[in-house]
């Protein structure tokens, strides 16, 4: 039987295969859809933030980074965690507060962590991941290692001090860090133009003498190509890059939010550009997969997530001793 570590490593290395990339986009989509149902059932406690519509960014990032690179991302990161290789069992276990979760069920939906995959504990504080990713890059630079760090954050984070301070510091020190703004148009319940002085977050890179790109975050190939350029720049001493990926948050901010503030028809206008749809059409057009094969992959992933849910429903809750574990470093 494979260890958890081996399973996760394999999930990561497999991502060089375009078919596996599509499979894992389905995995994230169905995982997130099921979370919504589990929340309604009362099996997800507190809050949860799902990422349907942003799968191209999840998979694109995981497919281009090395396993020893570091990633800082936000409370909306089930997709990144799964893409980077965390098993759906370890992710769902955490979200449902079970001992099978990646940190034993004491973190919850906003706090997934997978050190062996380079995933820093995901951040529930907007913008906090940016300085910390810069710091990981500082360690790599100081030791002369060929590793990079990535911070992924939403458009809302571009208005917090940590964003500006981290971009400046990374630029001054030419740190091997990539800042990825997942601009899904809404910061919590507010639309971007009501909170933000620029239309394109990427424009702000110029203030920090930093190269930037604006990409279509719904298109996997664009995400991968852009990330490769930025990662290559960082690995060869060219310093940081700000990438702005234009995406759309299909769901509300959190589970309690039905997103009634969105203009009528906005979601529908994005759906034809759905990242899964775009990618499967590309693979079919290229002759890599047939329509039937895509349908089979989709069915398999749906069934696979159903099994993970059954498994997790029966997993134990942590005992009181978990409260006192890992507070102090020995």
């Amino acid at each position: 039987m494979s260890t958890q570590h081996e399973v996760q490593s394999k999930r990561r290395s497999n991502l060089s295969d375009p078919v596996e990339q599509l499979r894992r986009m389905f995995e994230i989509r169905y995982f997130e859809e099921e979370i919504v149902g589990l929340f309604s059932e009362g099996l997800v406690h507190g809050t949860t933030h799902t990422c349907q519509g942003q799968e191209a960014l999840n998979i694109g990032l995981a497919a281009t980074l090395n396993p020893d690179d570091f990633v800082a991302c936000t409370y909306r990161s089930h997709g990144f965690a799964l893409a980077l290789g965390l098993t759906p069992e370890a992710a769902l276990g955490e979200i449902m507060g079970r001992t099978t979760g990646c940190i034993g069920g004491v973190g919850g939906s906003m706090h997934l962590s997978a050190p062996e995959l380079g995933l820093l504990p995901t951040f529930a504080i907007v913008g906090a991941g940016l300085p910390i990713a810069a710091g990981a890059a500082l360690a790599f630079q100081t030791r002369g290692e060929n590793r990079v760090a990535v911070a992924v954050f939403g458009d809302g984070a571009a208005n917090i001090g940590a964003f500006h301070e981290a971009l400046n510091l990374a630029s001054v020190w030419k740190l091997p860090v990539i800042f990825i703004c997942d601009n899904n148009l809404y910061g919590e319940y507010s639309r971007i133009e009501t909170t933000t002085s620029v239309v394109d977050i990427a424009q702000r890179a110029a203030s920090y003498s930093m190269p930037s790109e604006i990409i279509d975050g719904m298109i996997l190939a664009d995400v991968i190509a852009s990330l490769k350029r930025a990662i290559d720049r960082a690995r060869t001493g060219g310093g940081p890059t700000l990438i702005e990926a234009k995406t759309y948050r299909y769901a509300g901010h959190s589970r309690a939010d039905l997103a009634t503030y969105r203009p009528e028809g906005e979601l529908e206008s994005w759906l034809p550009r759905d990242p899964l749809l775009v990618r499967q059409n590309e693979l079919i057009a290229a002759g890599v997969l047939t329509t039937q094969e895509v349908a089979a992959i989709s069915d398999q992933e749906r069934a696979s997530i159903a099994k993970v849910i059954e498994y997790t429903r029966n997993a134990p809750f942590p005992s009181p001793d978990a409260i006192f574990k890992n507070i102090w470093t020995q």
């Binding site: 570091f70 800082a72 990646c102 940190i103 034993g104 004491v106 973190g107 706090h111 962590s113 050190p115 062996e116 820093l120 504990p121 951040f123 504080i125 906090a128 940016l130 300085p131 910390i132 990713a133 810069a134 710091g135 990981a136 890059a137 500082l138 360690a139 790599f140 630079q141 100081t142 030791r143 760090a149 001090g161 940590a162 301070e165 981290a166 400046n168 510091l169 001054v172 020190w173 574990k325 890992n326 507070i327 102090w328 470093t329 020995q330």
Partner: protein, 335 residues
């Protein structure tokens, strides 16, 4: 024995750890080329070079966060917060990130970082550069907090903090930077984090103090049979040491620089009262600054900080009457 200043003891401790461990690095505002606004990083840039000793922008949130990231990725960063108040803009990184990463990674990530900050009044820096503010940090499981009170403890606690596997805040009383005295520059036998120091043994009363008020308490209590304890580590504080002393003396007084409300003195006092109620000969109390900002003028600032004469007067009254004395501001009808 070498005679050094308090600030030099810190620079020596940093250099000694940096020589021993290549993962130790130092950054903060003006710590490299200027060798620290208080000269606490003298010689470090020259010896260890610009990769390991860096000047940062005036961006506490960024460089404190960078320390969290660097520590998580295997370095042992020591950062300097020039004045404790500046930690206010970086507090998320200290209490919500650095102190929580170990827990949030199921014990897999460690954050061996040191946050040095200069604290306290006495320099005429005005109210936004003179507070101790250790109470910002004491309710954060996962973060250790130490406060040196003299040259040896500045050296020892700095090295001990760097060697600690988790995040440690070292709050340096700014008023002591210029003090000069002997230092044992040692590899082993350092003062330990979590251990209080008995500065003077005695049987009549237990006096617990910290930082720049330790020396003032020692001066104040000349000729009084007091046991003077330098708490030294605020989190986790040495309950055993204080308990043992109270069992012996039956009396407890806290001497604290910070304003009385919400200060560390209440933590020590309330726990000790709960534990030793029946053994106490009189109600314990706290000698502290008033609940007011630190005033600027020399005379008012001196009045604001508990001075030896005031500490002596308060404790003498307490010992002779077994009654808790009123603080100076109440005596004068000011508050």
């Amino acid at each position: 024995m070498a005679q050094v200043r308090f600030r030099q003891a810190i620079a020596l401790a940093l250099a000694d750890e940096m020589r021993k461990d290549a993962s130790v690095m130092v950054f903060g505002e003006d710590v490299a080329h200027a060798e620290g606004p208080f000269k606490t990083s003298e010689g470090l840039l020259a010896e260890f070079g610009p990769l390991r000793v860096r000047d940062t922008p005036i961006s506490e949130m960024a460089f404190t966060g960078a320390a969290v990231g660097a520590a998580t990725a295997g370095m042992k960063p020591v950062i300097e917060i020039m004045f404790m108040e500046f930690m206010g803009v970086a507090l998320d990184m200290v209490v919500t990130e650095a102190a929580k990463f170990h827990y949030l990674s199921g014990g897999e990530f460690t954050v061996p970082m040191v946050i040095r900050a200069s604290v306290g009044a006495g320099g005429g820096f005005g109210l936004q550069h003179s507070q101790t503010l250790e109470n910002w940090l004491v309710a954060t499981p996962g973060l250790k907090v130490v406060v040196p009170s003299d040259i040896q403890s500045a050296y020892d606690l700095t090295r001990a903090a760097i060697r600690d596997a988790g995040p440690v805040a070292v709050l340096e009383p700014r008023a002591l930077y210029g003090d000069r005295g002997p230092l044992i520059q040692r590899e082993d036998g350092l003062l330990e984090i979590g251990k209080a120091r008995i500065m003077r043994e005695g049987n009549g009363i237990t006096v617990v103090s910290m930082g720049q008020l330790v020396a003032k308490s020692i001066e104040a209590l000349a000729g009084i049979d007091a046991e003077i304890i330098d708490l030294s580590t605020l989190v986790p504080w040495d309950q055993e040491c204080v308990s043992a002393s109270i069992k012996k003396t039956g009396r407890l007084v806290i001497v604290q620089e910070a304003p009385v409300s919400g200060g560390w003195g209440h933590e020590v006092l309330s726990l000790m009262v709960s534990k030793h109620f029946a053994e106490l000969k009189a109600a314990p109390f706290i000698i502290s600054a008033p609940n007011a900002p630190v005033p600027y003028g020399k005379d008012l600032e001196e009045l604001y900080i508990p001075q030896p004469a005031y500490i002596k007067e308060q404790i003498a009254h307490y010992l002779s009457t077994n009654q808790v004395p009123t603080p100076w501001w109440t005596q004068r009808g000011l508050n």
